[in-house]
């Protein structure tokens, strides 16, 4: 960062919890429903309707809280946040205020090999509002999102750069996906981010005036909007201007933030406990049960893969990026015992095929067990690495096991030295002039003989043996 300033950044991430129905009624949460199809008297705030809490939402919030090292409140309270807006059906949003379900946690992540720990101040439950679409002289309202369950995760002001902020958001997304409590789909709005940002001179302990950039829906935009905003603020401070506390929006077309409203317009939300809902009670027993359901999280898993399985840090991080990939890796490597090779095969061949067919790893046409079996066959010398690639493609098409393909196609590696000797004899006999050239010093021709021998064996000869025998024959005379 330029001119001896540092940025202080905190994020509020709104994660849509992964439930079939909304937080306070039975409306579906399906993303691609028609306009206002996922609504009911409750979600559009008809007179006399009441919220009834979806228990799944609480369970998922508790799991998220535990994974974020939070204290889970034994008693948390829903509160009403009162304000008027056409897409807010009741004139208040049901949220949590002074007694959120999760508090005082932390998230760890790595950025360029360096570990960072960011405090989580709180994570609270709330309902989403509907969506307004403005057209010149009218506005259309879609209440499908009204009542979608959200967990708002608020970090401490601990982030110091746009890259850290984006990496923190990615780490959160990864954890939530590991827990299966949020699909992390940014395009569909199931993860949205507000960034609080201020700048100050290095060494200063007081926080500067913060600006909030609202509703960012991509990691790239987190980074870009913060970069822009930091520059804007530093320039303003250097010009001797005061930063105005305000809410800004990111314009991705102009690569700029612009002011949405200043603090003077800030509303008094008149929070008070929602008398329609009971306090959420989390018993010790329930908490113990949920603790047992928390899977090994990405950071710990990556650490185990490097420390216990000998993967490089890069490989381990790549493998743990998605819980399903890591699971696939563990099943495949358990089968063959070769962790490094398994990681390589997954990161190159498997992910390439998946990308090309636009499939996720759980839809992979090659099961983890079959990949493990393939690697085991290579390590046993039954097939060569080259043949393995052919078999891999065949496995992808046919979904058959490698053993079956080897059997039907006769693709077993030839490791019988007398058979290879015979084959090489034929190659040398057919290429006498090249043999002579080799012996007169043109040793570059060695590759030519290897190629010819492999070709003659239809690629099935054990390449190490071919090398060894060729060396012997060419140097030792016929």
């Amino acid at each position: 960062m330029s001119r001896n300033f540092e940025a202080v950044i905190g994020l509020e991430v709104h994660a849509q919890l992964k439930t079939k129905s909304k937080i306070f009624c039975a409306d579906s949460t399906q993303f691609d429903a028609g306009d206002n199809e996922n609504t009911s008297p409750v979600s559009v705030g008809m007179p006399g309707t009441l919220p009834a809490l979806n228990e799944r939402v609480v369970e998922q919030a508790i799991k998220a809280g535990l994974a974020l090292n939070c204290h889970i409140r034994p008693v948390s309270i829903f509160a009403r946040k009162n304000y008027f807006y056409p897409d807010l059906p009741k004139g208040y949003q049901i949220s949590q205020y002074d007694k959120p379900i999760c508090e005082n946690g932390s998230v760890e992540f790595k950025l360029q090999g360096k570990a960072h720990q960011i405090r989580i101040e709180r994570a609270h439950l709330e309902e989403d509002a509907g969506k307004s679409t403005h057209f010149g002289d009218y506005t259309l309202l879609n209440y499908n999102r009204a009542g979608i369950p959200l967990l708002e995760i608020v970090s401490g002001p601990d982030l110091r750069s746009p890259a850290e902020a984006a990496e923190y958001a990615k780490a959160l997304r990864q954890i939530l996906r590991y827990l299966d409590v949020c699909d992390g789909n940014l395009e569909e709005g199931s993860l949205r981010c507000d960034c609080n940002i201020s700048v100050r001179l290095r060494g200063e302990t007081k926080l500067g005036t913060k600006v909030e950039i609202k509703n960012i829906n991509s990691f790239r935009f987190i980074e870009k909007s913060l970069e822009y905003e930091i520059e804007r603020q530093i320039e303003a401070v250097e010009r001797g201007e005061k930063i105005i506390q305000e809410t800004r929006l990111w314009d991705p077309d102009k690569n700029k933030t612009f002011s949405m409203r200043t603090k003077e317009d800030a509303q008094d939300y008149r929070y008070f406990p929602d008398p329609d809902l009971l306090p959420v009670i989390v018993t010790k027993e329930a908490l113990e049960k949920f603790k047992k359901e928390i899977p090994e999280l990405p950071l710990a898993r990556s650490r185990r893969f490097t420390e216990e399985l000998g993967l490089s840090e890069n490989d381990a991080d790549a493998i743990v990026s998605e819980r399903e990939i890591a699971d696939y890796f563990e099943s495949a490597s358990r089968m063959c015992g070769n962790f490094k090779a398994t990681a390589n095969w997954i990161m190159t061949e498997v992910l390439r095929e998946l990308n090309e067919s636009k499939l996720s790893i759980i839809q992979s046409r090659i099961t983890a067990e079959n990949l493990g079996a393939l690697i085991k066959l290579i390590d046993a010398g039954t097939i060569s690495g080259k043949i393995a690639k052919t078999i891999f493609s065949e496995m992808w098409t046919s979904e058959d096991s490698p053993e079956k393909i080897i059997k039907t196609k006769g693709l077993v590696q030839i490791s019988d030295s007398s058979a290879i000797e015979k084959l090489i004899d034929e190659v040398l006999a057919a290429n006498t002039s090249q043999v002579a050239e080799f012996r007169s010093g043109k040793t570059k021709l060695f590759g030519f003989f290897v190629g010819a021998a492999m070709k003659a064996s239809k690629g099935q000869a054990n390449p190490d043996l071919v090398n060894e025998i060729l060396q012997k024959k060419l140097k030792g005379g016929l």
Binding site: P41, V44, G45, M46, P47, G48, T49, L50, P51, A52, L53, R80, N82, F84, Y85, P86, P89, K90, G91, Y92, G136, D137, Y138, L141, D268, R270, Y271, F272, P275, D276, L277, L278
Partner: protein
């Protein structure tokens, strides 16, 4: 059969045994209601399907089915209850033409038990008022004296019963809105323990205080009506899962060793109208004569009940009424064009036109109480005192089975008498709001008349979920009052 005097059980029994058809019963009450309504203004609208509903009941009976314990009994429904396909206005211009696509749980429960919905009853707008003068559809008259108020907010429900326009009606009670009009009109009205009756589909005024209940012509009818309205509802998180006893079958008017508490704070201030004072004293001496033990109890915090009530009720109301914004349903100001219209203007014009004066007053009061800097001193403090009040009542009920008190300090007052003095109006609720704040059951039983021939009732309160104790004492009072079955002549 004499439909003017018949109990709910008798009407239903006669319908089920085909002594009279549900259609005949419905026609009788519909005709009577339509005849009396221009004088009393108790109904906001009649249900055009009432006769069809009755015919459906008759058909069920004809096919050998049992339509339930309310078979063919016509009900009047306070206009706070959403009724599917039937206009539900809360007596407000802002919902003047609102037709809900759903029934309140109470309404569907009544229908399930065979009731016929006759129409929607007048009330104070959004149940805010003690005189029924705050209705967009005009004031309801007291059937015993047309120059007097019927009480509120369930004024239509009480007036309809007093003249037997219907054999039963529903009311809602946030600070006395069932008991006070029942008292002014000489009928029985019950507000059960908070949580007994689902609030789903009942237009919310103050969620932590609102509770529905029945108004009837007798304690036995009230017990039956109440047990059919109560019960767990998954749509209302605050609705209790306590089993609902068969109160009507367990009624017992024996007062031997029943401990009747008298609240020191209610009796000592000397603000009681002489006729009310006499009626209360008479009720106590009669109960004593029947074997009850009269005990003085104290709940000192009742002296703060009215301010507590108005802070809490107004605060919750200010939030509950935010949804009436003209965006999705209800009244919207007649704007020439929405283009270039400030959102704030859209809301203020729509809501400014749609709400009446008292509603606006409470929204503003509540908004103020909840606003930053005042919340702690007002809403929060009121909530803390409220919990202490509840504790004091629980302690008092360790000493007695019921607490007996006046319902209001005086009988029904004149129309227009207090409308310009909100504070005077609010003090009407001095004896009734405490039960709502503490979540206790309370009822009003007619026990006499004033010198000016206006009914005077007695309020009974019981510990949480102890409605039976209250109903039993109510039955005893009713049996010696000579008031049962009296119908006002209009």
């Amino acid at each position: 059969m004499d439909l003017i005097k018949a109990s709910l059980a008798e009407i239903s029994q006669a319908v089920r045994t085909k002594k009279i058809s549900a259609l005949e019963v419905t026609k009788f009450f519909l005709e009577r209601s339509k005849k009396l309504n221009p004088t009393l203004n108790a109904f906001i609208c009649f249900d055009e399907t009432a006769e069809l509903q009755a015919t459906a009941i008759d058909q069920k009976i004809y096919q050998g089915e049992n339509p339930g314990p309310l078979a063919g009994v016509p009900w009047g429904i306070k206009d706070m209850f959403c009724t599917k396909g039937l206009k539900t206005t809360a007596a407000s211009k802002i919902l003047e033409n609102f037709i809900p696509p759903y029934d309140a749980t109470v309404v569907s429960q009544l229908k399930k038990n065979g009731a016929v919905i006759l129409g929607k009853l007048n009330q104070d707008e959004f149940a805010m008022g003690s005189s029924n003068e705050n209705s967009y559809f005009g004031a309801v008259k007291n059937p015993w004296n047309l120059n007097c108020v019927p009480g509120g907010s369930s004024g239509g429900s009480a007036a309809a019963l007093a003249t037997r326009m219907v054999p039963a009606s529903t009311g809602t009670d946030t600070g006395g809105s069932i008991r006070q009009p029942a008292n002014f009109c000489g009928v029985v009205g019950i507000k059960p323990t908070y949580g007994r009756i689902s609030r789903y589909g009942i237009i919310a005024y103050a969620s932590s205080l609102d509770q529905a209940g029945p108004l009837t012509n007798s304690v036995t009818d009230a017990a039956l009506a109440l047990e059919l309205m109560c019960g767990k509802d998954m749509k209302d998180a605050t609705c209790s899962s306590q089993p609902v006893p068969e109160w009507s079958k367990n009624l017992n008017s024996s007062m031997k060793s029943v401990r009747v508490g008298v609240l020191k704070e209610y009796m000592q201030d000397g603000g009681l109208h002489a006729d009310v004072q006499k009626t209360v004293e008479k009720s106590l001496s009669e109960l004593k004569a029947l074997g009850a033990e009269i005990i003085e109890v104290s709940v000192p915090l009742t002296k703060y009940a009215v301010p507590m009530y108005y802070l809490i009720a107004a605060s919750e109301a200010s939030s509950n009424l935010s949804r009436y914004d003209g965006v999705r349903y209800g009244h919207r100001s007649n704007f020439q064009s929405l283009a270039n219209l400030e959102l704030g203007e859209f809301y203020s014009k729509t809501r400014g036109e749609g709400f009446g004066e008292e509603v606006k007053r409470r929204i503003m009061l509540g908004t103020y109480c909840l606003s930053s800097g005042y919340y702690e001193a007002y809403y929060n403090k009121a909530g803390q005192v409220r919990r202490l009040l509840r504790d004091q009542f629980i302690a008092a009920f360790n000493q007695c089975d019921v607490i007996l008190s006046p319902v209001t300090a005086a009988p029904a007052f004149q129309l227009q008498e207090r409308i310009s003095d909100p504070l005077q109006m609010y003090l009407n609720d001095i004896f009734t709001v405490s039960t709502n704040l503490a979540g206790l059951p309370g009822m009003s039983v007619p026990f006499g008349f004033s010198e000016k021939k206006l009914p005077i009732g007695i309020q009974l309160m019981a510990a949480h979920f102890q409605e039976q104790k209250m109903l039993n004492v109510g039955l005893a009072l009713e049996s010696i009052s000579g008031m049962k079955g009296l119908v006002a002549n209009v």
